[in-house]
């Protein structure tokens, strides 16, 4: 004998709960997206509110210039020409330019930005060599 009371409770509560939970998660994620898109402005406001005690972005964290990105890209490609990087090559997708784009996206994240600026010398050609040394030394995860 079916207990229709329990069955209806399961259905009503289940539908309500799944929509409520997913709806709230969507709201939270939307708010996070809003904060992310306005993070620089929020940082500035917080810095003013805390009389400058809050850490503001340093030159190290500023976006890479096009020249720096081109230099690091050249360094990565040079690194991949080396025979010992054959395992990295296996992880490369079929279009190497797509891979370069993905790596550049990784490099533009702030963690890597700080490492790059620490290593950047005065001239671009030295920078390419230094970039290769950096890549061999640092553990970098490439999404291939």
């Amino acid at each position: 004998m079916v207990d229709w009371g329990v069955a209806l409770r399961v259905v009503i509560l289940g539908v309500a709960m799944v929509f409520a939970v997913m709806g709230f998660l969507a709201l939270i994620m939307w708010l996070m997206g809003v904060v992310y898109s306005r993070q620089e402005r929020i940082r500035l406001v917080l810095s003013r509110l805390t009389w400058g005690r809050l850490r503001v972005p340093t030159a190290e964290e500023a976006a890479l210039t096009d020249e720096e990105v081109a230099a690091v890209t050249a360094a990565i490609l040079a690194y991949l020409e080396e025979p010992e990087t054959v395992t990295d090559r296996e992880r490369m997708p079929s279009s190497s330019s797509q891979w370069v784009l993905e790596v550049r996206e990784q490099l533009i994240s702030s963690h890597i930005r700080r490492i790059i600026r620490r290593w950047a010398p005065a001239t671009t050609s030295n920078w390419t060599l230094t970039g290769r040394e950096m890549l061999m030394g640092e553990e970098m995860t490439f999404r291939g």
């Binding site: 289940g14 709960m17 799944v18 709230f24």
Partner: protein, 374 residues
């Protein structure tokens, strides 16, 4: 008897023969047609092993040495008594999940929710067909198109149905490319299928890390019995997104999920004995599972159409069909139909959003079922 020695032939029944034949069919489908081979191959093999008579391979442990069968031990401790194996697979699935498309467009969380309505319609259908409430919940969850969730829920609520429910779930996931397109085309106009969606925004690493933590706390606070599924899923995802535990991430994504899949699927297959499977109820379950898939596809698409009445920037309603969380098959179906309508249209990443949202949704529903009737 041969001097006290019994051969399997003496214990062979028609039911055994039929089940072994079914096992061979699953193996054929897996190898020759590549229908979900990672699941159907070991399930098919398990069916054969479990239905060859007098092997003792499915004998449960009794505490006395030498009496338990290999699969009996794994089944008892991994599935029947402690239901650990499907949760470990969910850990691996979380490590493979990319919530980026969902985070870039959060309103599609709702499409993942809408596609779970199929679960409830099948639940009511199962009750009308004479199944009890626990069996009906475990049959309904097939509509979530999520193998580990189906196995986990069924192992707790209706262990006898675990084999057939798992086979139904994985078989329909493999047939998504046949099941979904007619439903999607029937519910959408050509003009709607041609709707192009804007390129997704970049999702920061911070958002990707925060999401599994927020989702875990939020969902488990509201649906406590979803903790094992959601917890393992979000842990695996955190391994992936944090980027600081590459060995754990790789182990979860590869070794763990592969090893557990072997044992879980073989046990699921071996648990499918003739006396449980070869009865009219099995056909009802297969029909209800198919209905759950179909209704879930339809409700996802319909919610997409409803949302377009209020949205300035329209979504392609077909992506609602991907809320049936057969990842990534249903997203690929949507991509293919989108390209048919407009070759320039690229819906795959947009469809992956509801796809992964559906996984979270079906785990939430499972938690509700376990909380009320478990």
């Amino acid at each position: 008897m041969l001097g006290g020695f019994q051969t399997g032939i003496q214990g062979l029944t028609l039911g055994h023969i039929v089940m072994v034949a079914i096992g061979f069919i699953f193996i054929y489908l897996a190898i020759s047609r590549e229908f979900e081979p990672y699941e159907l191959l070991p399930i098919g093999f398990g069916i054969i092993l479990g239905n060859l008579p007098l092997t003792g391979i499915m004998t449960s442990p009794t505490g006395r040495p030498g009496e338990a069968g290999l699969l009996g031990v794994i089944y008892s401790y991994g599935l029947y008594l402690y239901t650990v194996l499907p949760l470990l697979i969910f850990l691996g699935l979380g490590a493979m999940a990319d919530f980026g498309p969902m985070l870039a467009n959060p309103k599609i969380f709702l499409l993942g929710a809408a596609a779970q309505v199929g679960i409830f319609t099948s639940l009511m259908g199962a009750l009308l067909l004479g199944f009890n409430i626990k069996e009906a919940c475990s049959i309904g969850i097939i509509g979530g198109a999520d193998g580990p969730t189906t196995i986990y829920t069924t192992a707790i609520l209706a262990p006898d149905l675990m084999g057939i429910n798992a086979v139904a779930a994985y078989s329909y996931m493999a047939m998504v490319a046949f099941i979904q397109p007619p439903i999607i085309k029937a519910l959408t106009r050509e003009k709607e299928r041609r709707i192009a969606m804007r390129e997704l925004r970049h999702v920061s690493k911070t958002e990707r890390i925060i999401f599994p933590l927020v989702a875990l706390v939020f969902i488990v606070l509201f649906v406590p019995r979803s903790a094992p599924l959601i917890g393992m899923f979000m842990l695996g995802n955190l391994f992936r997104e944090s980027g600081v535990v590459p060995r754990l991430f790789k182990a979860a994504e590869n070794e763990l999920i592969n090893i557990v899949t072997i044992f879980l699927m073989v046990c699921v297959g071996a648990s499918m004995s003739a006396d449980i499977i070869l009865r009219p109820k099995t056909f009802f379950i297969l029909g209800l599972g198919l209905a759950a898939f179909g209704v879930g596809t339809a409700t996802g698409v319909l919610l997409g159409k409803l949302m377009n009445l209020f949205l300035k920037e329209k979504i392609n309603p077909m992506i609602g069909a991907a809320g049936v969380s057969a990842v990534p098959m249903s997203a690929r179906v949507v991509q293919k139909l989108g390209r048919e309508a407009d070759p320039r249209n690229n819906l795959l990443f947009h469809a992956l959003g509801p796809n992964f949202a559906g996984v979270v949704g079906s785990a939430t529903v499972a938690g509700v079922f376990l909380g009320i009737v478990g």
